[in-house]
């Protein structure tokens, strides 16, 4: 009996440690945990598209900025002391670095806070929404029914019997991967109330659901933002706002501007003519969501 109690006590102490042991304590550890660089060997074209995408720099914003600096410097979420930063200081992780929520501990938040305050773009830039984030971590939404993503599986739009990788040896179909709900996990629906301060960030999916579908739209996020290139989905997931010329071309295709003008003299009352020009503008677009949104 005494032996059983001792074993149980050891297990109770050891279990949390074992779970903690799997969590990243630093930026490098988390980056390594989700490193997808070996995907490049077989999926070079897709990898090159992703490297140019905002998913490859989710904490950098546009034009090489560091979008989280205002969060840690002067927002309701800013830690009083960088050394005391915790995961709670970063609601942005929900979408900008979802793997941090499941796989990093507070010391990671401390290092990130210090890197942000130091303007260390090299260090912050290591944190990416890598292949593994979408193709494993976020690949299953119905977890009560389907369970959590399996550790050795890459999820895709179809089953593939074998996958020549040392860790991810199987490819299984994720039914939601080509549906808008998949993107909706991050490109959200409205204020996030689960934090200790509300956070109003991306609302694309809400706009898609309430303003696009309701008017009869049927296209998915992937159909427009991941069109097939040589038979495979484009992982640039345009727009890439750092490429202004390309973004401008995309916007020109999606947004129309019609301008009508009239020059005449308006008669306010007898003999009281006012020379006037009237300009009528009409802007419309083919997007499946409000513009702008995120």
């Amino acid at each position: 009996m005494r032996a059983v109690v001792v074993i149980l006590a050891v297990l109770l102490i050891a279990l949390p440690l074992a779970v903690n042991a799997e969590k990243a304590k630093s930026i490098d550890e988390l980056a390594k945990m989700y490193d997808s660089s070996r995907c490049k060997a077989c999926h070079a074209e897709i990898y090159a598209q992703w490297e140019k995408s905002h998913h490859a720099r989710p904490l950098m914003g546009v034009a090489g900025g560091l979008m989280l600096v205002p969060v840690v410097k002067g927002s309701p979420f800013a830690p009083k002391d960088p050394k005391q930063a915790t995961m709670k200081n970063f609601p942005c992780f929900k979408c900008h670095l979802p793997q941090a929520l499941t796989s990093a501990e507070d010391s990671f938040a401390v290092e990130l806070t210090e890197a942000l305050l130091a303007g260390d773009k090299g260090k912050v830039g290591k944190l990416q929404i890598t292949c593994l984030v979408c193709h494993n971590e976020k690949a299953i939404i119905h977890r009560m029914q389907l369970g959590k993503p399996e550790k050795d599986v890459i999820y895709s739009t179809k089953d593939i019997p074998s996958h020549p990788d040392k860790v991810f040896t199987k490819v299984k179909k994720s039914t939601v991967m080509d549906q808008s709900i998949f993107c909706g996990q991050c490109h959200g629906t409205g204020p996030n109330f689960e934090f200790e301060n509300p956070v109003q960030c991306a609302t694309l999916y809400g706009s898609y659901q309430h303003n696009y579908l309701s008017h009869g739209g049927f296209q998915s996020c992937q159909e427009c933002h991941m069109p097939k290139v040589k038979g495979k989905a484009d992982h640039l997931i345009a727009p890439n706002w750092d490429d202004k010329a390309h973004s401008s071309e995309l916007l020109k295709k999606a947004v129309t501007l019609d301008v009508q003008t009239l020059g005449y003299s308006w008669l306010r009352k007898a003999k009281d003519l006012h020379p006037m020009v009237v300009v009528n503008t009409k802007i419309s677009h083919t997007g499946g969501h409000r513009i702008p949104d995120g």
């Binding site: 914003g61 546009v62 034009a63 900025g65 205002p70 969060v71 927002s75 309701p76 979420f77 609601p91 942005c92 204020p191 301060n197 509300p198 956070v199 109003q200 960030c201 991306a202 609302t203 706009s207 303003n211 696009y212 008017h215 009869g216 739209g217 706002w241 202004k244 973004s247 401008s248 916007l251 020109k252 947004v255 129309t256 501007l257 301008v259 003008t261 009239l262 020059g263 005449y264 003299s265 006012h274 020379p275 006037m276 020009v277 009237v278 300009v279 009528n280 503008t281 009409k282 802007i283 419309s284 677009h285 997007g287 499946g288 969501h289 409000r290 513009i291 702008p292 949104d293």
Partner: protein, 99 residues
Amino acid sequence: MEVTAKTPDGKEIFKDERHYHTQATTCLDSKMVYGAQNKASYVRDTALQPYASKDETFQIKLPEGVTTVDVTVDLNYELQVPENKVPIHKVTKRVTLER
């Protein structure tokens, strides 16, 4: 979107703007804020919506002696700050009252 009217010799006689985007506050006061970490909720939405057009009318009263103007409508996507623009459309039309 910026609408300007200039006389043929380049003198600006009219300028107006429209801004199409969601607008949010902290909901603790009435000041608009940027940044998801500050925004609590939208309070106004003037963004371009699916299956809906944005129709505007600008009436430009011409100064005395001016009968011809060049109207320019400049539509840009602004990234983070007004100075960082991605051009979408720019339309210029000469409008005259002369017949």
